[in-house]
């Protein structure tokens, strides 16, 4: 008989490295027509980080995402970056890009101020213009200002900056300290169906409520959450590298090492929690790794809710779940006698 169950799991996760400095640097160049180029040493590994970094630069310069081209991952060309690791790109590299864009923007403001007859601090960059705060009709196209700065004043709008999350070393004996600048929080709830005659577990539905500070790009956040859940499902139910007695792997291939496919994926409902972290670029933190953290825990709690067995070692394969169900019913039969 198939039995339904539900399980909840809550988690917290830090953004960036433990204690050690993990800076990122970036350069932002505003071109003659007001478009811009960002140089970053981070690597696009499929998560969409270059899109997000482009959005951050565009926001700071008051232009659209498509106006920004991001050049990445060439050690001869791009500045240092600690790398696409530890859910740190949006937060750390994002802050570096924002600071670099601020510097380039300051050069634009210096050029635009006399053109608009105001002081630089009275200006803002919005909708592809440099304009006077409170008087949006007093504006100049950003391209005109950029070209003026470069071709007339001889001061091209280029900014470079670096950023490192502030941390405090942990005491070696007590572990007390500030190992990370900030954390994110999330809850996932899983609904499963367990076949009590075969031990097979099907994940029906997962509700995922995740904090990432400001969602710079909600679509990419949803993508991360869905991808993270698929890894969590594999960790919970299927994936396991096995070794023989001599220490050689016996399933180093995708035929015998079973990963979830699209058919194994549950229905996923995503909630991005409203939040703003003052230390992140435009309030953003990160979302990459946390998405796969609570999934297995939620599924295992749902199995317990469905059939009353606690699986204490992962993965919860059908064999393991069935053995636990049989042990439980044998135990109950003895108890009844």
């Amino acid at each position: 008989m198939k039995r339904r169950g539900r399980g909840i799991a809550c988690m917290w996760y830090p953004i960036g490295f433990t204690v050690s400095a993990n800076p990122s640097a970036a350069t932002v160049k505003v071109n003659e027509d007001g478009t811009a180029t960002v140089l970053t040493g981070t690597v696009e590994t499929g998560q969409g980080s270059l899109t997000v970094l482009g959005q951050i630069a565009a926001e700071e310069l008051g232009v659209a995402t498509d106006d920004v081209h991001v050049v990445s991952a060439d050690t001869d060309v791009t500045p240092m970056d600690t790398g696409a690791i530890a859910s740190r790109t949006t937060y750390v590299t994002g802050n570096a890009v924002k600071l670099a864009a601020e510097k380039a923007k300051a050069i634009l403001f210096e050029a635009a101020a006399p053109m608009l007859g105001v002081r630089p601090e009275q200006l803002e960059a919005k909708d592809r213009t440099i304009r006077v705060k409170g008087f949006p009709q007093r504006n100049l196209p950003i391209g005109e200002v950029a070209n003026h700065a470069q071709a007339v004043k001889g001061e091209p709008a280029i900014g470079s900056a670096s950023w490192n999350p502030p941390t405090l070393a942990m005491d070696p004996d007590t572990g007390q300290g500030k190992p990370f600048s900030t954390y994110v929080y999330a809850t996932q709830i899983a609904e499963v169906e367990v076949d009590d005659e075969t031990g097979d577990v099907e994940v029906i539905r997962i509700v995922a409520a995740h904090d990432c500070g400001t969602a710079i790009n909600p679509m990419l956040v949803e993508g991360q959450i869905e991808g993270g859940i698929s890894m969590g499902v594999g960790f919970a139910l299927q994936e396991e590298m096995l070794f023989d007695a001599a220490g050689r792997q016996i399933n180093p291939n995708l035929t015998n090492y079973i990963m979830p496919t699209s058919l194994d994926m549950p229905r996923i409902e995503v909630d991005i929690i409203d939040n703003y972290d003052p230390t992140g670029p435009f309030g953003a933190k990160g979302v990459g790794e946390p998405t796969s953290v609570p999934t297995a825990a939620a599924i295992l709690n749902a199995i317990h809710d469905a059939v009353g067995v606690r699986i204490t070692s992962l993965p919860a394969t059908a064999e393991k779940v069935l053995a636990a169900i049989r042990a439980k019913s044998a135990h109950e039969r003895i108890a009844v006698r």
Partner: protein
């Protein structure tokens, strides 16, 4: 107009047939297929909008992925390029007595063979440099490389690996992390202890906390080793140029630190190494460390040709980092209404044959192991140990999925024993703005409670169950 083009087509066809007729075996050079996609693109409106932040902006690389036009490492080719393959030990613990590469070197098509002794500095690692690029004196796990070949085709390189003879002297091995902890266990890196890093977190007064508790619960949990299995395997191309600079196209996820590691193994100034990573087809932590890059660089130096290496799926499993298996013991003291007063956690991480990112994983796991809950009295003791297995390193979550499985299973067991709803026991203990973390950090922008409430609301947790 139509007729003319038809004629043109026909003429071309005849010419081709004539050429083919000149010799049965003559193969015409492959012509690039016609471009079948529009080169002018429509920019989606969302990419044109301001403000940029908060928009559901499409990715600039999405179109290339969709059209199959993204150039991954294996799509790149250079004139004269050779293919490298690495011979794996297949033995978990051994001393290498002799490596005979003569038969492989004599094969037509084999351009160079490389062993560990030829590597200027044969060790690397992000925190401890305990990993050989190619094993030279000792094998620490079955996936260790012992020799590499560069040949004109992949097939010849693979055949050459078969002709390399390695003589081993088997050594005792240890595979279970709890066995590896014991004093009399075989040492993986003698004379060093198998415990290569520890982390302790102490907060409040544990004994007092347990004494004040109404109930004390204990739980023991274990997790398995898993592989990242990115779509794109580990791949790189090395090109050593006549100025003594080496360029590496690589699937590395962290090129800045990777460049330093590569320069160190090659004994080169950092500015003589260039790494280009362009687009990487999945990382999840598995590409945060150098793998075959120094081998390819040295094979390129030996042959004066570009050298490509692409790991098979099998090599991805046996020869790259994986997720740490954990053994976790939890002891928690609670009041009868479910408030946690004290918790003791002991974590043993199976670190595999090399340290890799174990110290980071150990640190994060120890800090996170108490869960997102306010616990005044806490002791966490965490250890990572060497075993003669595939090395464990960075993988999405750095130990967090393992400890989350333990603390949340343990939480539900306590809730069920106390007759509490799993949501309620969490709401009773969860962090709020300004809560103190296990390391005494004042937490900010905390929305753990909101995440519980929002998820429960969307799920319909409080609604009557069918």
């Amino acid at each position: 107009m139509t007729d003319k083009s038809k004629v043109a087509e026909k003429t071309k066809e005849i010419a081709v047939n004539l050429l083919r007729g000149a010799g049965e075996d003559l193969r015409l050079p492959a012509a690039a297929p016609a471009v079948t996609y529009p080169l002018e693109t429509l920019v989606p409106q969302v990419r044109q909008q301001t403000p940029a932040v908060g928009q559901r902006v499409t990715r600039p690389d999405g179109r290339l992925h969709g059209l199959g036009q993204t150039k991954y490492i294996d799509d790149l080719s250079f004139p004269g390029m050779l293919y490298a393959k690495i011979k794996r030990a297949g033995i978990a613990s051994a001393r290498i007595k002799r490596i005979d590469t003569r038969a492989a070197e004599a094969m037509p098509g084999v351009m160079a063979v490389l062993t560990g002794r030829e590597i200027p500095v044969n060790s690397f690692g992000p925190s401890l440099q305990d990993q050989p690029v190619l094993a030279d004196e000792r094998v620490f796990h079955a996936g260790d490389g012992v020799a590499a070949v560069a040949a004109v085709t992949e097939q010849i390189a693979l055949e050459a690996l078969e002709r390399i003879q390695v003589e081993y002297e088997l050594l005792p091995a240890v595979f279970d992390p709890l066995t590896a902890l014991q004093d009399d266990a075989p040492r993986v890196h003698p004379p060093k202890s198998n415990i290569y890093a520890t982390k302790t977190i102490r907060k409040g007064d544990l004994e007092k906390g347990f004494a004040a508790s109404d109930r004390i619960f204990e739980g023991r949990f274990r997790t398995q080793m898993v592989e990242h299995a990115s779509l794109e395997p580990h791949a790189a191309i090395a090109q050593w140029d006549p100025n003594g600079r080496v360029t590496l196209w690589s699937t590395l996820g962290r090129i800045t630190l990777g460049r330093v590691d590569i320069a160190r193994t090659l004994k080169l100034a950092v500015n003589r190494v260039r790494i280009i990573a362009t687009i990487v087809g999945g990382n999840f932590g598995g590409k945060n460390e150098i793998t075959q890059e120094p081998v390819l660089a040295l094979l390129s130096k030996k042959t004066g040709r570009p050298v490509k290496g692409v790991f098979t799926r099998g090599e991805g499993f046996v020869a790259t980092t994986t997720r740490h298996p954990f053994v976790m013991e939890y002891k928690t003291g609670v009041t009868k209404d479910g408030r946690i007063l004290a918790r003791k956690v002991r974590l043993v991480l199976d670190g595999g044959a090399y340290c890799s990112w174990s110290e980071t994983t150990l640190g994060k796991a120890a800090i996170l192991s108490a869960g997102p809950y306010r616990i005044d009295n806490l002791l966490v003791e965490a250890f990572v140990v060497y075993t003669n297995k595939t090395m464990t390193g960075a993988m999405r979550g750095f130990g967090a999925p393992q400890v989350c499985f333990a603390y949340e299973s343990h939480m539900d067991d306590m809730a069920s024993a106390l007759g509490l709803d799993p949501l309620d026991i969490r709401l009773l203990n969860v962090f709020d703005e300004g809560s103190l973390s296990p390391t005494g950090q004042v937490l900010q922008s905390v929305v753990a409670r909101q995440s519980l409430l929002q998820a429960a609301d969307r799920f319909g947790w409080r609604e009557a169950r069918p």
